[in-house]
C-alpha cells in the first residue's frame, strides 16, 4: 500500500509539473502575441526572380472539391514559366482521375497529373513518388479542398530566399464556418492555433510547424533529411522535426492565408484528430531523443519547444494519470506529500490552467479583429472535451507507439456541394 501511495504521489507531481509547463506555454505564447514584436521578415518580398516551383495537390477521392482548388491555383500570379501544378491522384475510385485528365488536356504543360495505382498508399508515399520526378527548387503542397488566393504562391515562396529556410507554413482559414456548432468551434480553434500559437513560435524563433498543406519545402532540404517518411502517419510533423534537427529553419507566414473546408460532423472531426494524435505520437517516439541530444547544435529554447510540440497529444493521457493518482491517494486515505501545496496546485490549475486555451483563442479573435465570434468561447469546452477523449483513445492505440504498421489513406470526409463561392481572390473581402 505504501508503495502504491508513493508512486501515486510521484505520478501526481510529475503530472502537475507537465501540465503547468503546457499551461505556462499557452500563456507565454498568448502574451507574446498580444504584446510582443510581430516577426514577419518575408511578408514584403513582392518582387524577385522567382524560383522554379511545383505545387503538389495530393488527392484521393476528391471529386467534390478538386476543381475549385485547381481553378484557384491557375489564377495565381506566379510566373507561368516557373510554375507546374501536379495533382497527385492515389487510387481514387470516384471521378477525380477523369477531372484531372480533363484539366491536363485544357492546360497542357501547366497541370501535369501524377496518377498512382501501386506502391504504399498514403499522402507521404504519394508525395515521395511524385516529387522524385521533379528537380525544381521549391515544392509546395495544397490539399485538394484548399483554395489559395491570387498572391499566395509568391507569399509562400518568398521565405525561401533565406538560404536557411527549409520549410514554410501558411495560415489555414476555415471557409465553411457558419454551418454548425462544430465548424464554428473549429474556426475558433484554428484561429488560436495559427494566429497565436504558430506566430508566437515564429516571433520567438522556436519551432513553427509545417502542417502538410498551405506550405512547402525546399528540395535541397528535403533531400538532406532523407525525403518523406512513407510510413509516417503525420508526414508534416515528421518532416518538421527532422528539418529542425538537421539545422534548417521552419517559417510561419501568418498573412499567407488559405481557405479550407473543416469537418462538418463530429465523426469526421474525431477521425481527423485521432489521426493527428497517432502521427504526432509516432513522431514523438521517433525523434524526441534525437532532439534532446542535439543540444549542442540547436538553441535550448528550440529543443524544449520541439519536445513540447511532439508531446502535445500526450497531454490528455497525463491528465488522466493525474486524475487516477489523485483518486488513489484520496481513497488510500493519505494526503499527498505537501498536501496543502498539492491542493493549491490542483485548484490553481483548475482556475487558471484550464482557461489558458480559452485565453489563447480569445486573443486570436481579438488579433483577427473579429470580436463577435468570441461569444462562442464557452462552447469550446465541448470541443475540448471531445478532443481530449479522442486524443486519449488514439494515444493508447498501437499505431501511436509501435513500428511497422501499414499506412492507408486516412482522409477527412468532404461535404462541399457544388463549387465554392470564394471569388477570384480566394474569397477575401
Amino acid at each position: 500500500m505504501n508503495t502504491l501511495v508513493a508512486f501515486a504521489n510521484i505520478g501526481l507531481w510529475v503530472c502537475i509539473v507537465i501540465l503547468a509547463i503546457y499551461t505556462l506555454r499557452h500563456y507565454f505564447f498568448t502574451l507574446n502575441r498580444l504584446f510582443g514584436r510581430h516577426r514577419q521578415p518575408f511578408v514584403d518580398v513582392i518582387q524577385a526572380d522567382w524560383p522554379s516551383l511545383v505545387v503538389f495537390v495530393p488527392a484521393h477521392n476528391e471529386e467534390r472539391v478538386i476543381r475549385d482548388s485547381l481553378d484557384a491555383l491557375l489564377t495565381c500570379d506566379y510566373p507561368e514559366d516557373r510554375l507546374k501544378i501536379v495533382p497527385v491522384d492515389d487510387r481514387s475510385t470516384d471521378d477525380t482521375r477523369n477531372i484531372l485528365k480533363e484539366y491536363a488536356e485544357n492546360y497542357p504543360g501547366r497541370i501535369i497529373p501524377f496518377l498512382r495505382d501501386e506502391g504504399i498508399p498514403g499522402k507521404a508515399a504519394a508525395l515521395a513518388d511524385a516529387m522524385a520526378l521533379h528537380q525544381d527548387e521549391i515544392f509546395l503542397v495544397f490539399d485538394a479542398d484548399y483554395i489559395p488566393g491570387e498572391r499566395l504562391l509568391k507569399q509562400l515562396v518568398a521565405p525561401f530566399f533565406d538560404a536557411e529556410v527549409g520549410a514554410v507554413m501558411g495560415r489555414v482559414v476555415p471557409l465553411n464556418v457558419g454551418l454548425s456548432l462544430l465548424t464554428r468551434l473549429l474556426d475558433l480553434e484554428r484561429a488560436g492555433g495559427y494566429q497565436v500559437d504558430q506566430q508566437a513560435r515564429m516571433n520567438l524563433r522556436l519551432v513553427p510547424q509545417y502542417g502538410g498543406t498551405v506550405g512547402g519545402v525546399r528540395r535541397a532540404a528535403l533531400e538532406h533529411v532523407g525525403g518523406w517518411n512513407v510510413d509516417s502517419l503525420a508526414e508534416d510533423t515528421d518532416l518538421t522535426v527532422r528539418l529542425v534537427i538537421a539545422g534548417w529553419e521552419v517559417v510561419y507566414q501568418n498573412r499567407s492565408e488559405c481557405y479550407e473546408e473543416v469537418p462538418e460532423t463530429w465523426e469526421s472531426r474525431i477521425r481527423q484528430i485521432k489521426r493527428w494524435a497517432k502521427g504526432h505520437n509516432q513522431a514523438l517516439r521517433r525523434y524526441v531523443a534525437a532532439l534532446l541530444t542535439n543540444r549542442s547544435r540547436l538553441p535550448l529554447a528550440q529543443v524544449l519547444d520541439g519536445a513540447l510540440l511532439l508531446g502535445v497529444f500526450v497531454v490528455p493521457l497525463v491528465l488522466a494519470v493525474g486524475w487516477l493518482c489523485t483518486i488513489i491517494l484520496f481513497f488510500a486515505g493519505y494526503p499527498p506529500e505537501w498536501g496543502r501545496f498539492t491542493v493549491l496546485a490542483i485548484s490553481s490549475f483548475n482556475t487558471v490552467g484550464n482557461f489558458a486555451a480559452f485565453f489563447q483563442v480569445a486573443a486570436a479573435s481579438r488579433l483577427d479583429g473579429s470580436r463577435e465570434r468570441i461569444r462562442m468561447l464557452p462552447f469550446l469546452f465541448l470541443g475540448f472535451l471531445v478532443s481530449t477523449f479522442a486524443v486519449g483513445r488514439a494515444s493508447l492505440s498501437r499505431a501511436s507507439w509501435l513500428r511497422g504498421r501499414p499506412v492507408q489513406w486516412q482522409k477527412t470526409e468532404r461535404h462541399r456541394e457544388g463549387r465554392a463561392n470564394v471569388g477570384g481572390n480566394g474569397g477575401r473581402a
Binding site: A48, V173, R255, S370
Partner: protein, 349 residues
Amino acid sequence: MPNSPGMAFALLLLALIAWMALPLLPAFMELLRPRDAAPLSAVGNDAGKLTYFADSFTKRAQREGLLGTMVPPRLGDGTPVLSHSQAAPLVKQRKPIEDMVVLMDSTPLPEDCELATEVLARLTVRGSNGVVYRALLGQRDVYLGERSTVLRWVHAKGRLEVANNCRLLGRATAERTIVLGTNVTFERLEAGVIRVTDVETAEAPVLPTGAYERFVPSYGKQLAPAYWRIDGGLPITAGSAFIGSAIATGSIVVNDGARVTGSLKAHDEIIVRSGAVVTGSLSARKRITLERGARVSGPIISEEAIVVEAVVVGSSTKPTTVTAPVVRLLPGATIYGAVMASENGLTVA
C-alpha cells in the same frame, strides 16, 4: 412562496441552473442568431500589391468622368470636386482642402497647402514646396517640391521625382522611375527603377566565374551540393569566386571584388564590400551593408537594418526587393523593384 420542500428544492435548482447558464447566454444567442459566422477576411486585396489604391482610384476617376474634357462638380457619392488650372488656380487656405482636387494642367499648387482628399493630376505635376497630399495620382510625371508630405499613397504613371526633405508615408510607386532627393523618409517604394539622386552609379563588373580564384569554405558542414552551414563567421576572400549558398551563425563579409554565385544567410550581419557581386539573395538577422560599387541580384532581407550605398540591386529584367525595418539609402543607390522599410526608411546624404 413555495410551501413544500420539493418545490423549494426545484426552484433552487432552477435558479442555480439559470445562474450557471447566464455566461452561456451570449454563446447561445450567437449560435441561434449568428452575427459573426462568415469566413475571416483577414487578408486585404491590397496585400502585396502596392498600386492597389492607385488602381482603384484610377477606375473610380474613369467611372466618375474625371478624365474627360468636363470635370463634374460632384462625384456620385456627393463629394465636391475642385479644379485647379492656370485659368482658375486654387488659392491658399489656412484650413485643409477637404474636396477632391483635379489638377487640369501643370500649374503649381499654392505652397504649404494641405489636400485632405485624393488628388488627380491629368498632366505632369510640378509640386510646390511644403504641400501635404493625402493621396496623389499622376497620369504622367510627378515632381514633389521640397518638404512635401504624402500621407497615404502617391503613384506616377511616368516618373516620380521627390525633392529633398520630403516625407512619403505609405506607398510611393511609379511605372518608370522614382528619383529620391536626400533626407526623404519613406515606407514602401516600387518602380521600374528607384534611384537616390541622379548620381551615376558605377556597377561592379560581372566577369565569368573562371576569371576568379575559387573559394571553398575550409570549415563547416555541407548540407547539400554547393550548400554550406558554417558555425561562426564567413569571410569570403577578396577577388575570389564562391559558387553555392552558405548559412553562417556569425557574420559574413564578401570582400572587395569577390563574386558569390548563390545566396547567403547570416545570423549576425552581412557586409558586401566594394566591387563584390552576389547573384543570389542576402538574408541576415542583423544589419546588411552594401558598400559603394557592389552589386546584388536577389532579394535583400534583414530583420534589423539595411544600408545601401552607391550600389546596384536587381536589374531591369529581374527586379527584386530590399526589405528591413530600417533602410538607409545613400546617393547613387539604384534598386530595380521595391524597397520596403516597415519602421523607418530614409535617404541620407
